[in-house]
Subunit: 485 residues, 2 copies
């Protein structure tokens, strides 16, 4: 077994191999659809895993159309990767079986180790660690969901996104990966690879950071961490990763109550938060405090062009919204300059009536019927040397009440997408949730969003969140040494 | 015309009368569906306004099935309320027509007064003010959408919510009322009455506050204000209103850039923000900075039971979410105590395995398959004297991946709704946006939300926003002198 002080490149090579198994065994596989032993087999099938797949269960002959084997040792061929869904009491023996089959890694969905807070469970975890080290089997988990790698057809649940993206993610919580999928999937969050690693007994946050740092399929990295095994090693790995690409880190267990919850969740020992945030920032990464912030920063880095100027131009939305946006921008350190002279002139040419009245942010209700559209002003802002950042609000609350709602909600996103495709400035587009009880409304807004997602636009569900993300994004590129792609 | 220093009760009586017109004339009515002159007539018809409705347009004989009149003076009967969609240049004459017809109030959708920043437009506004005062006609606006009063069948746009609620709202921006409708309608935000008052030339924020303070149909009041005509009078009215019911105030134009935008929106002169916030809080109202916060506090006050204890109990969601929620609660001044002893005992009776492991917030993934549900623990928390606040997360990101997603998403909201109906503690329920591209997912989550809305549950789209709202809600009831209903 590799030494825990292996070079980052050795660890990265090891994890790369783990992500490319030729064969997978699911120990504790089940034909009962309401069990994890079913989920793993079924997900690998549905995601199209092309290697050999072996369900292991002493009480089944066949599971999901595949022959089942009584034990791992009974599997005829080579097994590179083993997933365990059996009770904790049986895992020590499973480690030996893994060694006998030459498996590279064992991922334990199996839980009830140190996180229960009981001494006998903590003792079992220590023995598991020792046995695995002796046997040369690397452990992912215990108490985790394991690997997601859409390109290789690997998933732990059938409802994770199958389309691959550019976000590498490591998470101490598996549930958080479902949450990210449901909350941010509609906005286009897609993973290159993700790892749920639970208690992180062997391979842990530092190892996965080293892996994602060099992974060409991951343009950025997100992390949810409750506690770290070795603070110094983690920060060194974080610094290495952050020197190569944006890394966004959400820390759980920042307070006494959160720390108590973390102990019962993944047995993590939480540290002092202020120190943590300073250290993460010092390492060149982005520290966030909520799932909403995490999602927004992942979307920003996945889809926006890098840029560090602070002068924002905005179109879309009525007067109240324009005023509030200008306020929030200034409060967060962005500037909202008056409209550049050449844009004022171009508006005056097309709509003499509006000369000197339209300002930035552009109030959509002033433009209405003038012959100058918000999208047109956005294009001019894109060309202007006096504007650094673009914010475009679809403004469906206004559009849906118009008799031509259908055509507005087709045309506006299309124009915004065109600007987003060609601009070299950071650009955010706002479209609200399509969570209407009315099917027509849902469909109109949902289809508009889908179009924007396909065009790889950076989407935010509210102006507030877009502005906050833009402010942090710009701040990052001001201080970052990561070369801009 | 009443003296501007009229007693609050006189103003309230006047506005009450304005909200109950026996007849309405729309001057500048139109048969073109893409005009405000069409929107007003059509909305009043669709909302079922039962009084007389008179379209006025010299170039039409009939509009939307109603006979049209060449001028206001040609209308045969009494006209209580006049809506103007004609150009600014014609409004002085219209004021005289209103006086001749004995109209109580004139609402001007008509814009392009002081907000354009041009001296001739500001001068016209001054003349309008003087002419109306001389003629004894009260003005709502100009540059506004006017009244919404679903119970009386009054609206300015057909897509505003028709079901009446308990939120009275005054807004300097009309567009903000659409935004609130689309963003918060799916969560159950319903207006008793709302007023968009634009430039507030005559009747203004102080008058409407005095009205809503005594309006029995409004249990709480929301306000979006860009600038106030008379700071001292506004604060006095705010204090009177806040002494009777919760008042949530969002201020636009807090910064230099926001102030510039406000000037071109409603010609408002913005003040210093820190002073404003202190004064609003001092008056007993709740000051918010974003539309998201505004919506969340309106939902909280519309649906949650009052209460000031800070000990929160939470169920639903996986381990990561539990940890992060505990963190956020403590950071915002709520406490997340360990599970009360009697609940620990009751869990141990039903699921001996989990004894001493489950903590607060309750990690849904630990309970899975144990025979103890999150809803069961929530009921125990409701009964416990050691818990003051309830937070229940539907956790659809977990449920949607289960084979019994349909039944989970029927049962969980139903149980939560039962607790919400009977609890005497402030209780928030979290269900995420149903903004999925997939129709089945949209329908499942959307129907679950609809059930919760019908049960009058306080709904939040994310745990983060629920916790923030709970913290501010509790803070309010700690210092408020409003008697708890």
């Amino acid at each position: 077994m590799p030494n825990p002080k292996s070079a980052p490149s050795d660890i990265a090579a090891l994890i790369e191999a783990i992500f490319h198994p030729r064969s997978i065994a699911v120990v504790g596989a089940s034909a009962n659809p309401n069990t994890p032993g079913y989920d793993y087999v079924s997900s690998l099938q549905k995601f199209g895993f092309s290697g050999d797949l072996y369900p292991v269960n002493p009480r089944a002959e066949e599971i999901l159309g595949l022959p089942a084997f009584p034990s791992l040792r009974d599997v005829p061929g080579q097994v590179d990767y083993v997933i365990s869904c059996i009770p904790a009491a049986a895992v020590l023996e499973l480690v030996d079986d893994c060694a006998a089959k030459g498996a590279r890694a064992l991922q334990l969905f199996t839980a009830r180790f140190s996180e229960t807070g009981r001494e006998e469970d903590a003792e079992l975890e220590r023995r598991l660690s020792q046995r695995a080290r002796e046997a040369g089997v690397r452990i992912i988990g215990p108490n985790c969901l394991g690997l997601l790698y859409p390109r290789q057809g690997i998933s732990f649940r059938a409802d994770m996104p199958r389309q691959p993206g550019n976000v590498g993610f490591l998470s101490q919580s598996g549930n958080l990966l479902f949450e990210l999928t449901y909350l941010a999937g509609p906005r286009g969050l897609r993973f290159s690879k993700a790892i749920s690693y639970g208690n992180g007994l062997d391979l842990n946050e530092a190892d996965f950071l080293d892996y994602f740092a060099q992974d060409a399929e991951s343009a950025l990295v997100g992390a949810y961490v409750e506690g770290v095994r070795d603070g110094r090693r983690f920060l060194a790995a974080l610094k290495r990763a952050a020197a190569r690409k944006p890394v966004v880190v959400l820390k759980g267990g920042r307070t006494a109550a959160g720390g108590r919850a973390a102990a019962s969740h993944t047995a993590a020992l939480a540290g002092r938060h202020a120190v943590w945030t300073a250290a993460v920032t010092q390492a060149g990464a982005i520290s966030v405090d909520t799932v909403e912030e995490l999602i927004d920063m992942l979307i920003a880095f996945a889809y926006m062009r890098p840029g560090s100027g602070r002068r924002l131009g905005m179109v879309g939305g009525g007067g109240g919204r324009s005023v509030l946006t200008a306020d929030l921008c200034e409060e967060l350190g962005l500037s909202v300059p008056t409209l550049p002279d050449d844009i004022v002139r171009r508006i005056a040419e097309k709509a003499p009536d509006l000369a000197g009245w339209v300002t930035n942010p552009v109030d959509q209700s002033i433009l209405a019927g003038s012959g100058v559209s918000g999208a047109q002003v956005l294009e001019w802002m894109d060309e202007s040397p006096d504007i650094d950042l673009l914010l475009a609000n679809v403004g469906e609350a206004w559009a849906l009440g118009r008799p031509n709602a259908e055509s507005l909600l087709a045309r506006i996103p299309e124009r915004f997408a065109q600007v987003s495709r060609r601009t070299r400035k950071p650009m955010a587009v706002v479209i609200g949730p399509s969570d209407y009880a009315d099917e027509r409304l849902w469909r109109l807004v949902s289809e508009a969003r889908e179009k924007l997602v396909k065009a790889e636009v950076a989407l935010f569900p509210s102006v507030e969140r877009a502005v906050r993300a833009l402010a942090r994004f710009v701040e990052y590129w001001e201080r970052s040494e990561v070369s801009r792609p």
